[in-house]
Subunit: 145 residues, 2 copies
Amino acid sequence: MTDDIDQILISALMEDSRRSLKALAQISGLSSPSVAERLRRLEERGVLKGYTVEIDPKCFGYQLQAIVRVRPLPGQLQEVERQIMSIPEFTECDKVTGEDCFIARLHVRSMEQLDTLLDRLNTLAETNTAIVKKTPVKRRLPPMA
Amino acid sequence: MTDDIDQILISALMEDSRRSLKALAQISGLSSPSVAERLRRLEERGVLKGYTVEIDPKCFGYQLQAIVRVRPLPGQLQEVERQIMSIPEFTECDKVTGEDCFIARLHVRSMEQLDTLLDRLNTLAETNTAIVKKTPVKRRLPPMA
DNA sequence: GCAACATGACCGACGACATCGACCAGATCC
DNA sequence: GGATCTGGTCGATGTCGTCGGTCATGTTGC
């Protein structure tokens, strides 16, 4: 289904998604029409879900990053989810098993802003916040083999 | 420093980082050499850190996704960090303030694999695992304005 | 107040690239 | 064993990126 060449292409695009078809052709040992066709099929099958950029949030003043565990008060689960989705500083949120219903990532410019945003949630949920000090593993892919 | 046009370019590339310079030129109302120059400067300044792809881990058999909080046993902090970095199924890891030293994301193909991987850590740390049921907020950018 | 410079844009020409159609080789299936 | 499907190459054509030259604008210093 996805063979070695597809994985080479995916890895190459992970490193730099703006590589030309020609460059990808050289890396994979195929011709560029073949590469184009393979990418088309990877997209079609939903393996390749999109091409995007990595941005440094610090450049927009987001000095702080926090991971917030959120435990909604009884009956507030839906509303908490809506709130999190509607606050754009929440840049990631998973609904998980266990006592904490949500685990979310929050980017803020200051402690004051962190406080303000969490206050909005604290009427609906208990929260537990951990400030990110360092990121030992940056987003990467699990092994494809 | 980063003006409206830069933000238009960044947003356009967030949606699809393979857009041609010409397409970006049309979107932003500039000429393509100008766009090329702006991208060059955004990269140079570290705002634009890279161009990458979104892959669906399910397509490689990763049916389960977990968020693991890790509290190293006394004296094992360094070793725990090394372990996490060296296990490729950990696709993200932050070192944070608070009792849990690390919060990591883990992609696995099965419960057995989850168990195996966590056992490796449990000689060095206490862990607390939450299975991801849903992702209400997919990775996005905080407001740039 | 103005000359000199820096910045950031445009245009046009040229070379590189993507795309399309035609064709081919190997596996699969009656 | 021939029809068909799949996934590849090649070469022509048109589109795109890049580079040098130019210009407008805003800033600095005398």
